[in-house]
Amino acid sequence: MLEVRHLRFGYRAGEEVLSGVSLRVEEGEIFGLLGPNGSGKSTLLGCLTGFLRPWEGEVLVGGLELYRNPRQARQLMAYLPDTTLLWEQLTAGELVELFADLLQVARPAPRELASFGLPEEVWWQKVKSFSKGMRQRLALFLVTLRVPRVLLLDEPTTGLDPQGAEVFLRLVRSLAAQGTAVLVVTHDVFRLAPVCHRLGLLQAGQVVPYRLGEVAG
């Protein structure tokens, strides 16, 4: 479903951050990508979403090459950034309607928030009154209004309490069960590992397979 081939990228000439990254995430699979700070995890996600243009390599989303067909490929993807503050002045309901219109899907009813662990009354509340966990779940609800073929998550459990993280990961699992390929970039290896089908380590600009308990070289 998501295939990355020999991706090379750097912010300046001669300073390569990604040195030929290759990986593949199958339909219904959750792939956990680990790596130390500054290893290029967020940069890789930037390339996968098309916000950054790699020097070399290609990204296939559902068989479509991302950089040649950005519009069509993006319609198959959803991306949740690491820190989602959302728009504080808007209510949850307004945001849901906004994203439904942007994604060109039917507007959901307030009660549908419950499936993401959000009480119905938050529909009419401004986002500035939400906790971090509520924002994260609302953001996931927003980007998955149209069930994506590929979901990219950047540090999704950072700042969440154990209960909030558990609820969030359950939602991710249910999306994978519907056939979505999920790529999770994280530090939180112990919380994410049980959820992921496979793990990879981004090291020296390349992704290598990783098993829990291994010591990163």
């Binding site: 319609q75 820190t83 503050l85 219109d101 942007l102």
Partner: protein, 460 residues
């Protein structure tokens, strides 16, 4: 319009209407316009009263005076014939001159201590509000990390930035214009003296249109900077720098440079030049007669009587020389000032603030050429009046010259005064259209520049 585009516009509108900038811009611009107009109306009333008082007092004094010398040193007539629209624009250098021969080119304190006009205040505030309101339009989404979220669902980056420009810049420009309109409307009950002028309404309409365009130009520029910047502070500082450069430093700096070429003389230089000019006039036309008088004074009684009469004529000639000399001097300085202004305008012609001021000034009928002509007319009248009084040695009437025709009226009747003041120049609509076209051109250029910035919409 597509559903997604409509949704983006709606989101921007929600954000704008719920932010503090919206209400502060509306309230403060209304307050600025209201206060500015109140001050203008107050000054207008005060000046009218002063003109009437001076006309009455000087009419009596003119009647009582037997010779020109008795009038020398008196402030005997004030020219302050400003239109209501001119009050709105309030050019700081527009003269309220007293026709006092030895101080002819010196504006009265009334003209020198004028507070800033509504137009000058708006020129200062509107761009500032637009920059403060729009600088974080895109970069704010970057720092909130909501930009990747939005771009993930919006098909095109251009759609996103276009929505920001249309709603944030266009919306806030509309708010600024509404604020000014509210200020104008709220001040109507207290601006009766200004309302009677037919040029007031067109000037207000042009003021509103020019405010919208000025706001739009700075709004679009701020959104463009917001696309370029990586941090909100970066966009804010770049915006403030652009504001300071285009609104304060460049116009003032280039005007100063232009003035170097045609400097306004210092009082000492004025006195020196005035003395030289008078001495020259006196030497050329008076010296010969003085020699004759001196010869006659040494003769018999008849010759001495003729000499006495000739001396009287010589005194009148001196008064004539004073009048002509100062008049020519003042004309020369007006022309110098005009040259400096024209050069400054040419140097700053494409700045948004300059176009804004030029549009409103032209609508008020105060474009530079007409203004100069008007001032020279006033000066001409002053000179002719002084000459007349000097020749008659007795002030009985005002006199005006229309082409080759002279007209006189009782000086004691203040109601006659306005008839002798030249009418303010009429609005030159071509100049208004020209100025607005220039502003529109600027807006288009800035919009194109911003389109080029679209490529900078990178997210990390």
């Amino acid at each position: 319009m597509e559903r997604a585009t409509r949704a983006l516009w709606r989101k921007e509108l929600w954000e704008l209407s719920r932010g503090w900038v919206f209400w502060v811009a509306l309230g403060l611009l209304a307050a600025v316009t209201f206060t500015g107009l109140q001050v203008a109306a107050h000054r207008h009333r005060e000046e009218q009263r002063l003109v009437q008082e001076l006309a009455t007092a000087n009419g009596t004094r003119l009647q009582q005076a037997k010779t020109w010398r008795e009038l020398a040193g008196e402030t005997f007539l004030l020219f302050a014939p400003q239109s209501a629209a001119a009050r709105l624009v309030q050019l700081a250098s527009w003269p309220a001159y007293a026709a006092r021969p030895q101080e002819l080119p010196t504006p009265l304190p009334l003209a020198q201590e004028l507070p800033p006009s509504p137009v000058q205040l708006l020129l200062f505030f509107v761009p500032l509000f637009m920059l403060v309101g729009c600088f974080d339009a895109v970069v704010g989404e970057k720092t909130r990390r909501t930009l990747p979220l939005l771009l993930g669902v919006v098909g095109s980056r251009k759609t996103l930035v276009a929505a920001k420009m249309a709603v944030r810049a266009g919306g806030l420009a509309t708010v600024a214009t509404l604020g000014v309109a509210c200020g104008l409307l709220a001040s109507l009950p207290w601006t009766a003296p200004l309302l009677g002028d037919p040029s007031f309404l067109p000037t207000c309409l042009v003021l509103l249109l020019a405010t919208f365009l000025l706001a739009l130009v700075f709004g679009l520029a701020a959104v463009g900077l917001s696309v370029w910047a990586e941090q909100p502070t970066q966009a804010l500082f770049a915006g403030l720098l652009a504001y300071v450069l285009t609104t304060l430093v460049l116009p003032q700096g280039l005007a100063s440079v232009a003035r170097l070429a045609a400097p306004w003389p210092s009082p000492a230089a004025l006195e020196e030049q005035s003395g030289r000019l008078l001495a020259e006039l006196y030497r050329q036309e008076g010296e010969e007669r003085l020699q004759v008088v001196r010869r006659w004074m040494s003769g018999g009684p008849d010759l001495q009587r003729w000499a006495q009469e000739e001396l009287g004529r010589l005194q009148r000639h001196y008064a004539d020389a004073v009048s002509h000399g100062l008049g020519q001097l003042a004309e020369r300085f007006f022309l110098q000032e005009h040259r400096a202004r024209t050069a400054a305008k040419a140097l700053t012609a494409l700045l948004p603030g300059e176009l804004f001021a030029r549009a409103v000034t032209a609508a008020a009928g105060l474009d530079e050429e007409a203004l100069l002509g008007y001032r020279l007319q006033v000066l001409h009248y002053t000179r002719q009046l002084t000459l007349f009084l000097a020749q008659k040695q007795q002030a009985v009437a005002f006199i005006s010259f229309e082409g080759s025709q002279a007209r006189t009226t009782d000086a004691a009747d203040p109601s006659q005064l306005p008839q002798f003041l030249p009418s303010p120049p009429k609005p030159r609509w071509l100049a208004v259209v020209g100025a607005l076209s220039g502003l529109a051109l600027w807006a288009i250029l800035l919009a194109l520049g911003t389109v080029v910035l679209f490529g900078r919409l990178a997210v990390r």
